[in-house]
């Protein structure tokens, strides 16, 4: 008996370990993105996010102050100050004055740069540049340092995205525009699909099976196929590009899955309740409103989450059916793409934008998540 119990606990361990591993694996990219959103563009391109959490030793190119800050002391000209930006803590382990040999001197040593003067750099970045003749030129001397600095993070990306005066207006507008798109685009398909699903599940009429088959067949049609013909239709009937058009498009693209999901859930509801209601003289509409809808709530909620996430993250449908060249309407995804700049490559903004735009879907998800698992199983378990 004990051996059986032993195997059991061993398996539990295996299960728990693999769960932890899987969770870590799934979270890994998100954590990386999150850490990257607190780093500057130069940091992202020079080292990986995993390296940013420990104190790191880096080679940097810094400059002394401009010659116009020089002062005269006992017949010599002096420029002094600290190489690092004001609030930065770093410790220099080696430094140099040419790109050919960046670790020629240790802190405290003095480098003789010939007619450019003599430079002394301390470990904390304090320097003193002395010369007999006046310094000229527009820029300070380059100093190459090898310095270890504590982990450094910045909120600048979030500030730029949310509070920069040139973006703020666009972001706020995009946020409300997106809500205007997403809320109706979630509610309309659910309403239509719930009616349709009831009819397909519980009302008897000729061709019902064929209709269900057609809905399932529509699930595999890629929406990209329909973009141009649908837009042509919208323009022809006078809807044009706008909210109505994008609501209709999202509704159309979301309906097959919605009907399929809800119908499979409703078909699994106990037949007795519905037949009892029929015997008691309830109409189809009463059965739908009083019995089916309350019982199907988990399925409705889970589809609402799906549809909300799709429409929130959608860029393609909005670009085709909503955003016209007047620039009066925009959505969050479009606004984020714009922040990336003409030639792209601003990863720090992309990482930050991902976390800003994720906030609302996360809130929706946590509000409805207890229905999600039940809804996910909709139709699959009898």
């Amino acid at each position: 008996m004990s051996s059986i119990a032993g195997t059991k606990s061993g398996l539990t361990w295996a299960v728990q370990i693999s769960v932890v591993l899987l969770v870590a694996l799934w979270l890994f990219p998100t954590v990386g993105l999150f850490v990257s959103s607190f780093r500057t563009a130069d940091q992202i391109s020079s080292s990986g996010w995993w390296a940013s959490m420990l104190p790191s030793e880096r080679n940097e190119t810094l400059r002394t102050a401009n010659p116009d800050t020089q002062v005269q002391e006992n017949g010599t000209w002096v420029i002094q100050g600290n190489l690092f930006e004001a609030d930065r803590q770093a410790e220099i382990s080696a430094w140099g004055i040419t790109s050919q040999d960046i670790a020629a001197y240790t802190p405290g040593e003095t480098a003789d740069m010939g007619e450019d003067g003599r430079l002394t750099v301390e470990a904390n970045g304090d320097y003193r540049l002395v010369n007999e003749t006046e310094f000229s030129g527009r820029r300070g001397e380059r100093v190459f340092v090898t310095a270890s600095s504590p982990p450094e993070f910045t909120l600048d990306n979030y500030r730029e995205m949310l509070f920069d005066p040139s973006n703020r207006e666009g972001m706020t507008k995009a946020f409300f525009n997106t809500l205007t798109v997403v809320i109706p685009a979630t509610i309309i398909p659910i309403v239509i699909a719930a009616f349709a699903a009831y009819a397909l599940a519980w009302m008897r009429f000729p061709g019902r099976a064929l209709l269900i088959a057609a809905v399932v067949a529509l699930l595999v049609v890629p929406l990209q196929l329909a973009l141009i013909p649908l837009l042509k239709l919208h323009l022809a009937v006078g809807i044009g590009k706008g909210y109505l058009g994008v609501w209709l498009a999202h509704t159309g693209f979301g309906l097959p899955l919605a009907i399929y999901l809800l119908r499979n859930y409703m078909v699994g509801l106990p037949r007795d309740i519905i037949e009892n209601a029929r015997v008691d003289g309830a109409t189809d509409f009463q059965i739908f409103v009083k019995i089916i809808l309350p019982l199907s709530f988990p399925a409705l909620a889970s589809f609402a989450i799906f549809q909300f996430l799709w429409t929130w993250n959608d860029l393609l449908v909005a670009m085709v059916f909503l955003i016209d060249a007047t620039g009066e309407t925009t959505v969050m995804t479009k606004q984020i793409v714009e922040l990336l700049g003409t030639r792209g490559g601003n990863w720090e903004i992309l990482a930050t934008a991902a976390f800003v735009s994720i906030a609302v879907p996360l809130a929706v998800f946590f509000a409805l998540q207890r229905y999600l698992v039940r809804g996910l199983l909709a139709g699959s378990v009898k």
């Binding site: 020079s46 060249a325 030639r343």
Partner: protein, 457 residues
């Protein structure tokens, strides 16, 4: 001016935000007539002859961020002068969007094409409106190397006849090598003036224990395009310009020994592990936006970077072009005596939905002030081949020097991959170059590209 102030005060009552947006939309950087460097006469003459009565004009283009801000400030003057409600939207997927919109019939009035290939395609399908003989004649007379700019914007229409459809405004210079002057000083290197010297410098840097080049071809779906610039530059430096012209029209097959020779010239630099930072294997996988950063690292990963005039936007923050980084002209072979060829590119403005305001806008682009305003701005890296502008307006000395290259080129040619059919110039040429740096022989790569070109005919 006065009316705007009034609106602003009225707006105060409704809320400060309204006032800000109204003012920002119509902000003019310089009051007309104020800064004497600008050609305000052309602005006044234009304003007097144009009044569109508040008509709306929509423009779709590729610029975003700071580039968009710069273009918006130029547009503000057009809106003010011609009394047009002008709206610009930028999109990074502009090339796909304009096709969808043109097909469906919801195109903007004016579209800005980053490459001529797509404009030619839309012209052929009848979506573009010809700009007329006047614009064509103006361009021929007023742009440096005017005829070549006219050719860049002339395509076959639906009826098969060639017409001037797209107005080139805003140019890029491609034949540049970027470097860090202070690193050159530290190592004692001189800026080379011939290709022979450039090759000698490359070998010299390796002998000194450094790595000469940073080359990155990565660009998402467009990976490989920086290599096409290399090959085009090499083509112009090993063959006369008329051979180049035959090459871009495929009169000279892609797998001709002359083209294969140019590809191998590029290979001399890119396929040598010692010559490229990270080794030849890293060329295809390094992003073109990240690759120039190697010049600024400590110690420098490389000394030289071949790229167009837009690249300073991707230098590390705080880099001052002209001091921290500079460029020299990608030199020609002294022994070949082919002059100093320059490779360039331009964005093209075409009318996708005809309206009086759209034509007025094209006429606005013919005024020197439209060029000078953008020249005075940092965003967008604006250069112009217009001869009548005041070059002192350029925002930096570097920009001015780049502008001079455009005005003084003895041989000026456009980016060949832009002129080739899309399937080649934005397809197999790119992927072929990735294969080539990956180790495939040049002849085989050229054969494949020619096969794909034949298939398109």
């Amino acid at each position: 001016m006065k009316t705007r102030l009034m609106t602003c005060t009225a707006g105060m009552a409704l809320g400060a935000a309204f006032c800000i947006s109204a003012a920002a939309a119509a902000d003019l950087m310089y009051a007309p007539g104020e800064d004497t460097r600008f050609n305000w006469d052309s602005y006044k003459a234009y304003a007097e002859s144009h009044d569109l009565g508040g008509e709306q004009l929509t423009i779709l283009g590729p610029w975003l961020g700071p580039d968009q801000d710069a273009f918006d400030s130029v547009l503000a003057y057009f809106g003010e002068a011609a009394n047009v409600d002008v709206r610009y939207t930028g999109s990074d997927s502009m090339e796909q969007q304009i096709v969808v919109d043109a097909e469906a019939g919801s195109a903007p009035n004016v579209a800005v094409f980053p490459q001529p290939g797509l404009a030619a395609d839309l012209a052929k399908r009848g979506f573009l409106t010809p700009l007329g003989a006047d614009a064509e004649a103006w361009m021929k007379d007023n742009y440096a190397a005017g005829q070549s700019w006219v050719d860049l914007g002339s395509y076959e229409g639906k009826d098969g006849s060639k017409t001037f459809y797209a107005f080139p405004y805003k140019a890029d210079v491609k034949s540049l090598v970027w470097y860090v002057p202070e690193n050159f000083e530290d190592a004692g290197y001189e800026v080379p003036s011939t290709m022979e010297e450039l090759k000698a410098l490359t070998e010299q840097i390796v002998a000194d224990g450094g790595t000469p080049w940073c080359i990155g071809l990565g660009s998402g779906a467009a990976t490989g395009w920086p290599a096409t610039d290399w090959v085009e530059d090499m083509m112009l430096r090993t063959q006369p310009a008329d051979v180049y012209d035959q090459w871009v029209t495929n009169e000279l097959p892609f797998n001709d020994p002359k083209v294969v020779g140019a590809i191998e010239e590029f290979g001399w630099f890119a396929r040598n592990d010692d010559f490229v930072a990270g080794g030849a294997g890293a060329v295809a996988s390094t992003d073109f936006r990240d690759s120039p950063k190697g010049m600024f690292s400590s110690p420098p990963q490389c000394y030289l970077h071949h790229q167009a005039s837009f690249i300073p936007a991707f230098f590390p923050e705080g880099t001052e072009v002209g001091l921290d980084a500079d460029f020299f002209y990608f030199p020609a072979y002294a022994e070949k005596d082919l002059g100093s060829p320059v490779l360039g590119a331009g964005t093209l403005f075409a009318i996708t939905k005809d309206s009086p305001a759209a034509h007025a806008f094209i006429e606005f682009l013919e005024t020197p002030i439209a060029h000078e305003l953008w020249m005075s701005l940092e965003g967008g890296g604006f250069l112009t081949p217009l001869k009548s502008v005041n070059k002192d307006v350029y925002v930096t000395e570097t920009r001015k020097a780049l502008g001079d290259i455009l005005l003084d080129a003895t041989t000026f040619r456009f980016d060949g991959s832009d002129l080739m059919p899309g399937g080649v110039g934005a397809g197999t040429f790119w992927t072929g170059m990735v294969d080539y740096v990956g180790g495939k022989p040049a002849q085989e790569v050229a054969d494949n590209i020619q096969t794909s070109w034949d298939a398109l005919k």
